[in-house]
Subunit: 395 residues, 2 copies
């Protein structure tokens, strides 16, 4: 298999952009990624386009990628539209990676985009609920907030998580988001403010929940052989890509029985590293307390010890295993089809030392070497429909 | 790159199945393919699921593949949802192929499914119109029937196609469809009946147009190394897979300027064969007269000579280059997200000598060696949004 480098990344800021279409959002991210990659656009040989809700929310059910890429100035290249709920963009990235490791293509674009503000919040929420089996779940009123609430409640009982712990995650991530120019929310919150915000689904309050959002993110990846000739920036390699559908019960399973854990194990094996080698992670905190569970599922700590990590500040930007330096889903924002590539972009910036005020460094001031992204999507038969994990490395 | 074999194919018949859901249709095709492959289902390592209109027509906007595969009994494998308008299923097949040539997986499932009869024809037609850029085309009322009508009218003027020629294509394909147990329409039509049927968009009449349809098709592909151990049927290899987005003007371009031609050329090069080596083809006759244009774009004849092929019966099952022995889109049916894999299934059956009354053989009674599938999808900026071509070979 060929080796794969990330040549460039780009984003359209996440937020509310009433006058922008899917095409506009994607266009910005794509051309930012091309500029960052420092290549001529005609070097791009193929594209994988991720979008989750454009059929129901924008009306563009079919050929979303072709419409987006024609608008962005591309024609004649292979384009594949990819969907995997909230893990859509990481799946598009993985498909781009696959087409480079196979040797089929040398330079490939992955882009994820979502337009969720369409003037009707109820419509957007209804669209989101199709990331379950609508016949047995979505149409019956089970929303993701309630799925997360049940999970978090169970973990509180089992592992002694307190409301303070839940608030601490949002406090940390809102601070990180305040340092991120692409973030939807830039106001640092105290845990008291988080806990005092409106109750959504006990114990989840408003400021713990990822918001509706518009946005896009993109990456140009390429055969390392090409990257070595082209790149004048620190070199970022994709050392693992793993995807799985759920095989566990999210509510019942212990960390080591979870789909995230088994997917992460495969990713660590592929990369030839362990959780102790990871210097930072962008994880799927669609509701910020879920981050605690993910610490354990990624092996950053043992079962039941997540609250030690958050209480001791070890997952802050200044900690030994920073998590969600971008602000995560709840602060950077979560335009669902774009999130996975925003995670990739953040890790690339961090590994290259370009993350500005939120730059992660170790106690000796050294840049991180390994960054991990963990992106979940959907909920089918009691578990994530998709679990997608990537590990990137500075070479 | 690894070599790829098609281990098994399966279909759910195409037609009107009011009481069947996406999940039911796909389930039948998947398990038929598994049975045909002769493997244990747990050998399947990954799945690519193609569906085009399930967001708008069934309401399952997101994680369609995960919902379908859980219902079919699968969990824990990587699943990617793929969309490319009418070329959706061939794109899913291509992604499965990619994951095997790369060496990432050994045994992979591709499935395409569509549910178009949802009790509201206007809704289904509106959903179909999203296979264009809805802002500049679909929402303005441009339907595929009119796109095809303009094209065919232009070809009639330029190359002397007569209404009789248009009728002859439908006559041939309806006869082929009458021999296909999976076909939606099984009544052989005369060209007179075709031309006398209701005018839809001059010169296209009702019996030239592919119908609404429900259906599914699937394939199990695998590393040839595995296939050689497992397979007790004639061995079918994927010798070319090509995908492109449009780069031409469908209305203006000569056959050799078309996206189909450039995609076919790459496929021939990949397979190491030329159009003269192809023994049968399944092509995208969404409106049956389009088949004539495709003869020229695939290089089966020179520019302007398509009408000689159809008049001389050379593309009949008994001809020297049989096209659409399955009945094609207009007779076998065209549940859009399933069509590409139905084409693959037909070619596999033909190469294995299992096509029953519609079996293609040469003048010496020998089975075909090379079969080609050509699957178009969508219409963006005056050309196919996706053009997907595969060449399969009996080894």
């Amino acid at each position: 298999m060929h080796k794969v480098a990330v040549l460039g990344v780009g984003m359209h800021p996440f937020g509310k952009f009433e006058h922008k279409h899917l095409k506009d959002l994607a266009n910005t991210a794509i051309w930012n990624a091309i500029e960052d990659a420092g290549i001529e656009a005609n070097r791009i040989e193929a594209a994988f386009v991720g979008n989750c809700l454009g059929g129901l929310l924008v009306g563009q059910e079919s050929v979303r990628g072709q419409v987006i890429l024609r608008h962005a100035g591309f024609k004649g290249i292979p384009i594949v539209n990819v969907e995997n709920a909230c893990a859509t963009a990481s799946t598009a990235f993985r498909m781009a990676w696959l087409s480079v490791i196979s040797g089929m293509h040398d330079v490939v674009l992955a882009v994820g985009v979502e337009k969720m503000f369409v003037g009707d919040t109820a419509k957007s929420i209804e669209a989101l609920s199709t990331a379950t089996d609508i016949d047995v779940c979505g149409n019956m009123g089970l929303q993701f907030t309630s799925v997360y609430a049940m999970n978090i409640r169970k973990k509180m009982d089992k592992y002694g998580w307190t409301k303070d712990d839940l608030g601490l995650v949002a406090e940390k991530n809102s601070y990180n988001g305040s340092l991120n120019p692409y973030a939807q929310f830039k106001k640092p919150l105290t845990k008291e403010e988080v806990l005092a915000s409106k109750m959504i689904a006990d114990p989840i309050t408003l400021y713990m929940a990822s918001p509706m959002g518009d946005g896009a993110a993109a990456a140009i990846i390429c055969n390392e052989r090409i990257a070595r000739k082209l790149k004048n920036k620190p070199f970022v390699r994709v050392v693992a890509s793993e995807l799985s559908s759920g095989h566990a019960s999210m509510l019942e399973s212990k960390p080591k029985d979870s789909t995230t854990y088994s997917t992460a194990l495969k990713a660590y094996e592929q990369a030839g590293v362990g959780p102790e080698d990871i210097n930072l992670a962008e994880v799927h905190d669609a509701m910020s307390p879920a981050e605690l569970k993910i610490y354990e599922e990624l092996g950053f700590c043992e079962e039941g010890e997540a609250i030690k990590l958050i209480r001791e500040g070890r997952t802050k930007i200044t900690g030994d295993i920073p998590v969600n330096p971008s602000g995560g889903l709840a602060s950077r924002g979560h335009p669902v089809g774009a999130t996975g590539l925003a995670q990739i972009a953040e890790v690339v910036w961090q590994l290259r030392g370009e993350a500005g005020k939120r730059q992660v460094v170790d106690i000796n001031g050294k840049l991180p070497r390994f960054g991990l992204t963990q992106n979940d999507g959907g909920y089918v038969e009691g578990d994530n429909a998709a679990s997608c994990i990537h590990i990137l490395s500075r070479v």
